[in-house]
Amino acid sequence: MSNRRLPRLLQTPAVILLLIWMLVPLSMTLYFSFIRYVLNSLSRPEWTSPSLSNWRGFGNYNFVLNNKDFLLAIQNSLVIVCSILFLTVIFGILIAVLINKAFPGRGIVRVLLISPFFVMPAVNAVLWINMILDPVLGLQGIAVESINDVIDGLRTAPVVGGFFNLWPQIEPISFRATQTSAIAVIIMVTWQWTPFAVLIFMTSLQSEDQQQKEAAILDGASTWSMFRFLTLPHLGRPIAIVVMIQAIFHLSLYAEIEIVSRGNGNKNLPYLIGEFANNNIGAASATGIFAVILANIVAIFLLRMVGKTLME
């Protein structure tokens, strides 16, 4: 296509808008990350307004690097993102394939399936952590209690009683503990974002070339082989996009972390930034720069993996 000017022109509005949107805050963040800047200080009031005279060099970075939660936050960011990506892509593909063929009530099932995606993150977190996962009042607690009651009842039953006597009481799991709070976040976000994956994969499956499938059938491919060799490659680009978009979203999870356990055990970089931002803007900004760097590393890594499928 010889005329390249128009395409360039069409790109410019988006590019310019995003450029402004990125440059202005980013440069301010960069600036703050190199100066002493706190919101409120009784001991050093001069730090409370951003000014070059408070120049600090890499001091904020140093402080952040030495923070006990910094590495943990990076690790959590990655673990949470990767687990969610893994689960949503797997579930997304399975479900999309499952409902790709017509069956009675498919429309309704589709609606049921994609509904979680419409739920606001805060609602999602509150709903899960309080009403479902709570070890006493949530459905988990209630379920565990009733199972224990049933087992208790069976212990006294004739014949099988002895068998049930061997069973221990089931302990409910607390999902707000240091050890489990990341799992709670993964569960709730997976629940919410699997529909996104389903949605994208579903749309993409619709465009799968029927003739290719026919050819494969005649080539003797089993259902599994067709899935493996045709559907999966066909889903390459949608998977790429699901992974990229979700990675970006989940690297900045905040509400879920806050609501589940206030960062206890599941603190990620944005949450760490939020904690600093309560007062120490300099440190928050430095952490922000770290977060940008981390996100870019993740993105470059992902792009390596999916970039080819994307542009083909």
Binding site: P13, L26, I99, V126, L127, I142, E208, R237, M244, I248
Partner: protein, 277 residues
Amino acid sequence: MAIVAQSTRRGRISRATFAWIVGLLFFFPIFWMVLTSFKTDADAVKPEHLFFFTPTLENYLNMTENYDYWRFAQNSIITAVFATIFALAVGIPCAYAMAFNPARGTKDILMWMLSTKMLPAAAVLYPMTFLTKSLGLFDTKFLIIVVLMLINLPIVIWMLFTYFKEIPKEIIEAGQMDGVNTWGEVREILIPLAWGGIVSTALLCFIFCWNEAYWTVRLTTTDAATLSKLIEGNRAPEGLFFGRLSAVSTAAVGPIVVLGWFCQKQLVQGLTFGAVK
């Protein structure tokens, strides 16, 4: 078209059953939330009232009485609709250009666009608050629309880009041979062919706008406050709150869920054309 892989009757039935089970499982938390919203706060935590209780509208009445639900809802609708429209208006031409006239830098531009989403919001809260206040834009719908549009633009472009990529290049070429100009190409070929993709992108963008809860909470006071701000105020009120919370949540997600239901056909009908030799 044809029946690819006729499955056995039993296979079909078990597939349907399984799909229904998965669907219901996924929907259950929402069902639970809606159900709870009709319980009193006290009933909400009583195991004996899990399913059997006297439904009450109390929570909803409380909500509309104590909070200006409709104002929040109206703001949500206005900001999400306009942000979506603008995002598409800017995103479609851009994605079109990148999908069909890829230059060497296209991949990098795409990547860079996405990277604009990576700046953690918390890190720029103060700059943003300061800037918008000094521009006099703080707590205006215009600001929220612009912000929502900007944070979703990269996603919109990415999604559209992938949908456009699926359109056989030859069809676009045929259009060029038939003498369409760029605008005609977009209107006559691209949009009809990628309609499903565009609708799902629009809907996704709308959902993201609707659910956005960082800037909409922090860059507004009252005039432009959306439903996410209502949620922020209600996610941990004092006392027993499952019922109240469920009602507010149901009211906040209700409109979008219903919208999603109406659009789901459009969403999946999407790109149902096969490549025609």
